[in-house]
Amino acid sequence: MRLACVYVPQLALQAALRRNPDARDEPAALLETAGPGNVSSVGRLRRPELIAGGAEPSQGSAVKKPRVTQLESRARRAGVRPGMTAAQAHALSANIRLFTATAADREAGAAALADVGYAFAPRVDSSDGGERIFFDCADLGQLYPYGETAIAQAVQAHAARLGLGARVAIASAKGIARVATRAHALAVVPAESAGARAFMEPLPVELLTDDAELRAAFRRWGTRTAGAIAALPADAVALRLGPRGADVARLACGKDDEPFVPRLPPDALEEAVELDYPVFEIEPLAFVLRGLVDRALARLAGRSLACAGLVLRLSLDPRGLDVRTVPLAAPTREAKTLLELVRLDLARRPPDAAVVGVRIIVEPARVRATQLDMLRPAGPAPDRLATTLARLAALVGPENVGAPATVDSWREQAVAVTPYVPPAAPPADALAATTATPSTRLTVRRKRPPEEIEVIMGRDGPTALRGSETTARVLVTAGPYRLSGEWWQPPATAAAASEPNEDAPGGWAHEYWDVHASDGAVYRLHRDARDGRFYLDGYYD
């Protein structure tokens, strides 16, 4: 097995830089008050402009000042060091950009790193603390015939596309690959044991283990490199330093037994951001969403997937959550389309309060593959159709856009609206079917709800009718056809029953007539057997 290890040093800083890509060309550092887990204590100090401007935010005496914990090379060259305060960092580098990484940033950064692996392998081992992933790259030789260095370069380039500066190494064991990423930005460790041992030999002991106690012990023994440790008798090392020391000694010899624990990708893909200020308007929110959607789509594109569904979770100020599902007619990978849909949804149903955090959950799916026909239209493009359906829903209401469907009911006017799916390519025998003439069958143009009308009844049925749109004598009458149903349902409330509502629950009994009126039309009308009122259902056309 050949394992690729992708290591993103200072992942928290890089995750913050993913959110602020314009700061990549400037010195940057990460500020934290305590350990990485205590980022919430920074609170409102996350305002980058304030920090970047050099103004030290006022804090209570009980709160410790945030200090630099991670910094990139330009900031280091300027003299900035971990442990400095924001003011000290600015004194050394006037244009340094100082950030704080929220929990959402770290989470999204780790997920993006995992996606680097999923772009190349179906399963990824991300059990190494979030900054490092492993995946099996033995089969990638088919795609990259120029060797494992080309694979490592491709992985590194893909990580850069996702906004992560990664170090990549390929080796036959996890431990060796891990050490190789510490030593080199790009490394390929030979597969054979002798080659691996030769690769490890010159590396300093500090790269083999993070354990300070072990490092000190090896230093006391005068062993500075892995080669020196490999020369020691393994049994003697295990006797003196225990199992951890024995592991380091084996690693120095180019051997490692650490198991590879791969996992399938998660069902959904998430990107999130916590805002510095509560946002009230839709436009600033759309601006924030743009970055989230761009990053999510870049991750999807790396896995050759598209967005099939989008869930928007808005954290409201001071508390509360607004969760909304943005419907998509078809999988799409266009940020513009997704943003348009989100914008329309927000415009139709604005959040109840100001927004302080945004999280998008993207459902990945394969892009629709269709075999186009030279002589027939390809149908609406999925992304444009999704946008169009969303715009139509915003115009006339979502309940009025879709495909009609019949309902399992005896009520004649019952109809449902289901999600619209563009028709698939017709089967081969469809062409023959299209040459046949569909029946020119009359349908009733329904009035929804039926209109209450006045009817003069004769011996054989209606003789005249008067409604809002017609007043006519009845020339020919066909009927009555008696229909009833749903008597088993509980009746509608008294208030609701006073208004004509044909879809109201409860039993119903109607007498229908088809009448040819003197205005030339053939109407469909009924009398409600419960109250004797007449209603116009529509007319044949």
């Binding site: 006339v396 856009v401 495909a403 009609p404 028709p423 569909p438 029946s439 040819h516 030339g520 056309d541």
Partner: protein
């Protein structure tokens, strides 16, 4: 092949060529779903253009619209019906439409108020890829007074650029010169079965071609109207 022999084949090859005009004719029409109307319009509704069907109540306008949609869906094309009738609840009778051969899941149905109908149709046409977009304004009052001519011109431009057939059903002629083809249904006479108690059987109408149809003037004069029979029983 010797040069002389190749030259000898030129007339034969030229005979096989199809003129651009003829090609446009064969590709430029779509069936209405009613054979008599196809004949009247010399092929059917023009593609990439606006068409209009008018008539009074019970003249069969809706049946023709549904037949056109059913034919397009059967050919695998995307279709839409902008239903601006029925007080915003839509006038489509889903069961009857399914019985008439319309594949309901393949139809994009938009129920709207008459004031929103043009905007909705514009959006659907602009999306592209729709073969037929039907705009039902039959019960929308005087659409001619309410809708500006410029709106029809804009819709016609969209239909032309997207290759969509836009079929507008109205009670009175509304589109004017914006329509490439127009059919007027009239003289509808209901028929009742009278063997026993009266039973409504269907309508016989007369379809008159108002615009469009064959380019040949003599052919236009030959058949300017046809009789249609619509049934309401299977």
């Amino acid at each position: 092949m010797p040069r002389a022999a190749a030259i000898a084949h030129i007339p034969e090859l030229a005979a096989r060529l199809v003129s651009l005009e003829r090609l446009e004719e064969t590709r430029g029409w779509r069936s209405t779903g009613v054979a008599a109307l196809d004949g009247l319009l010399a092929g059917g509704w023009p593609r990439a253009a606006l068409s209009e069907i008018t008539g009074r109540r019970s003249s069969g306008r809706t049946a023709v619209v549904l037949a056109t949609l059913a034919r397009a869906i059967a050919a695998g094309e995307a279709t839409a019906l902008v239903d601006a009738s029925g007080n915003g609840g839509g006038s489509l009778d889903a069961r009857a439409a399914a019985a008439a051969g319309l594949a309901l899941p393949a139809l994009l149905w938009i129920r709207c108020a008459p004031a929103q109908a043009l905007k909705a149709a514009d959006l659907v046409v602009a999306a592209g890829g729709f073969g037929v977009v039907a705009l039902d304004l039959c019960d929308s009052g005087d659409a001619r007074r309410r809708i500006a001519d410029a709106a029809w011109v804009r819709l016609r431009h969209g239909a032309r650029s997207q290759g969509t057939t836009v079929l507008v059903a109205t009670s009175t002629r509304t589109l004017g010169t914006a329509a490439a083809a127009a059919i007027e249904l009239g003289g509808g006479a209901p028929t009742f079965l009278t063997d026993g108690p009266p039973l409504f059987a269907g309508v016989k109408s007369r379809a008159a071609r108002v615009r469009g149809g064959p380019r040949d003037e003599s052919a236009r004069e030959e058949a300017a109207c046809v009789s249609l029979a619509f049934t309401c029983r299977s």
